[in-house]
Amino acid sequence: MKQIVKGLLLLATVLVFVLIYFPIVVIALMSVNASSTGQTFTYFSFVWYGEIANNTLLLRAIGTTLFVAIISTTIATVVGTFVAIGINSLKRNQRLNMMVLNNVPVVNPDIVTGISLMVVFGLLPISFGINTMLIAHVFFSIPFVVLSVLPKLKELDKDLFDAAQDLGCTSLQAVVKVIVPAIKTGIITGALIAFTMSIDDFVISYFTTGSGVQNVSLWIYARLGRRNFSPAVYAYNTIVTVVTIVILLRLNYYSIKKKMRRLNQ
């Protein structure tokens, strides 16, 4: 009986993973398929990878995506970390209130956030374009950084900040030299989430962009209507997947290595 249950569970697990990875594998196959329609597999080729470099529109979209992701992640990580440190130093009641404030944008549907930002930007004397998209990305990334940094701060000895000052740090030095390094892993996690959210975003970008500025998701969406996007998009997708897998493996590798080092001592 136990054996059967175990077998079924294993089967379910395998099935779920197959379903999750199936589309990724299909896209990867299509990216090395020389056919431009993608209906049949003609022969193996990396032409579409080379095609990325030739497709200026796609290249520009990739550039926009990376530019927005890198800048917004940097700003959101710095601001979010300081916000988290601020929230953590509040009294319990105020802290809980601030957490609710922080979590509303996280659980709010993107479409609401996107439209609200669009309305707000419309009221301000700025023109829609890469600036508004960037501000929007900073805005929706900050709460995620706060969420991943706060638990790390809670783990810290509550006297840590005082101890740094005791040994000669000004309050700013105490934050930079002690608190930030001590919550480093939380900050990195926050930055990774912010970066992914930014690269990934379609809805909010859709409402806050303008003057023809497109990131990759917007560009693909615009192509979709005409059903004529080049398989170079598959190549791009596959590259993103591979990069993600490599980053994840590296992170795991480091944390495993760290654990091993600790065990060895």
């Binding site: 810290l156 005082d162 101890a163 000669g168 030095q173 002690v178 001592q265």
Partner: protein, 346 residues
């Protein structure tokens, strides 16, 4: 010797709860002062005020005759060993200890030498590259002590720095700390709730309870002449008995008159009588003396702890000679062994 620290009528409350109530205390250069009191009596809060991590509500704190009100913690010539170590988790043992010196931009060789010296002092040689979260509680405490001491502060605040150590290491460290304090000429304010530690290490002991200073004095004074019931019961084990001071040098308790060395009370004033367990000798029953029955006996290593029931009150006696439960005995003590205290609430 001049004063290094003067605490002048300091009051501190947290949300309407008075934690320190009008505290005054003066500490001399090179003194080893211990704050002794039960949990929650405000010891840590007092240290935090001196370190500058907390602002006081009323009163003043003077460091070397200078009011420190507006001096931030990083500018005070004071270092702290925090109750929960507060080691920097991202730094190894060496870098934790070197932290203060690096901030002061001291030359590298000097830092190296000072840190290695400290490691030797706290017996952690060979641990310098260890990550601090791989250390035991006692090792962390010793790193915390080294991290503070390496800066050679004029005043070192230690918040229960030996709490996590086992007895043997604790005694070693008590000795080492005392030695260091004497040799380096640093003033120590040392917090503990272990009365034995307080008595063995300090030049002066400050007994605190519920935000008030109960008594300040040398370990001998505190032990032999506790000023009130709290002091007496907190410092060591004591027999505290209701008595009446009939006249100078004569006290009545357990229905018997005893000669004593105390005077200056009103005639027939109700008092607390303190007799230390080791000052009582058990002898054969004697009509002239307090009589009782042995109800319990526990072997404590060096001595036996014997409980004797006298008129519904239990006396504790330390003796190197065993007794049997049910033995009838009398309690013998001299005038010098009796200590008279005013009733606390009088």
């Amino acid at each position: 010797m001049s004063d290094i620290l003067k605490i002048d009528h300091v009051t501190k409350s947290f949300d309407d709860k008075v934690v320190l109530n009008n505290i005054s205390l003066t500490i001399k250069h090179n003194e080893f002062v211990t704050l002794l009191g039960p949990s929650g009596c405000g010891k840590t809060t007092l240290l935090r005020l001196i370190g500058g991590f907390e602002t006081l509500d009323q009163g003043h704190i003077y460091f070397e005759d200078e009011d420190v009100l507006n001096i931030p913690p990083n500018k005070r010539k004071v270092n702290t060993v925090f109750q929960h170590y507060a080691l920097f988790p991202h730094l190894n043992v060496f870098d934790n200890i070197a932290f203060g010196l690096k901030l002061k931009k001291q030359p590298k060789e000097e830092i190296n030498k000072a840190v290695m010296n400290m490691l030797m002092l706290v017996k952690l040689e060979g641990y310098e590259w260890r990550n601090v979260d791989t250390l035991s509680g006692g090792q962390k405490q010793r790193v915390a002590i080294a991290r503070a001491l390496v800066n050679q502060p004029n005043l070192l605040l230690l918040d229960e720095p030996l709490g996590a150590l086992d007895l043997k290491l604790r005694q070693d460290m008590q000795y080492e700390l005392k030695e260091m304090q004497r040799r380096l000429g640093i003033t120590f304010i040392f917090v503990t709730h272990d009365q034995e530690e307080a008595l063995t290490m300090s030049d002066r002991v400050v007994v605190m309870n519920e935000g008030l200073i109960q008594q300040v004095g040398s370990p001998q004074d505190i032990y032999n002449e506790p000023i009130n019931q709290f002091s007496a019961s907190f410092i060591g084990e004591s027999n505290i008995i209701d008595g009446v001071m009939v006249t100078d040098y004569e006290v009545v308790f357990e229905g018997i008159s005893h000669p004593c060395v105390d005077h200056g009370f009103e005639n027939n004033e109700k008092v607390d009588v303190v007799i230390r367990p080791e000052d009582i000798v058990l002898i054969k029953p004697d009509q002239q003396m307090i009589q009782g029955v042995v109800t319990d006996i526990i072997f404590k290593g060096v001595h036996y702890e014997i409980c004797v029931m006298v008129n519904d009150k239990e006396y504790v006696i330390h003796s190197t000679r065993a007794k049997h439960i049910g033995d009838k005995v009398s309690l013998k003590f001299g005038p010098n062994d009796i200590h008279i205290m005013r009733k606390s609430d009088a």
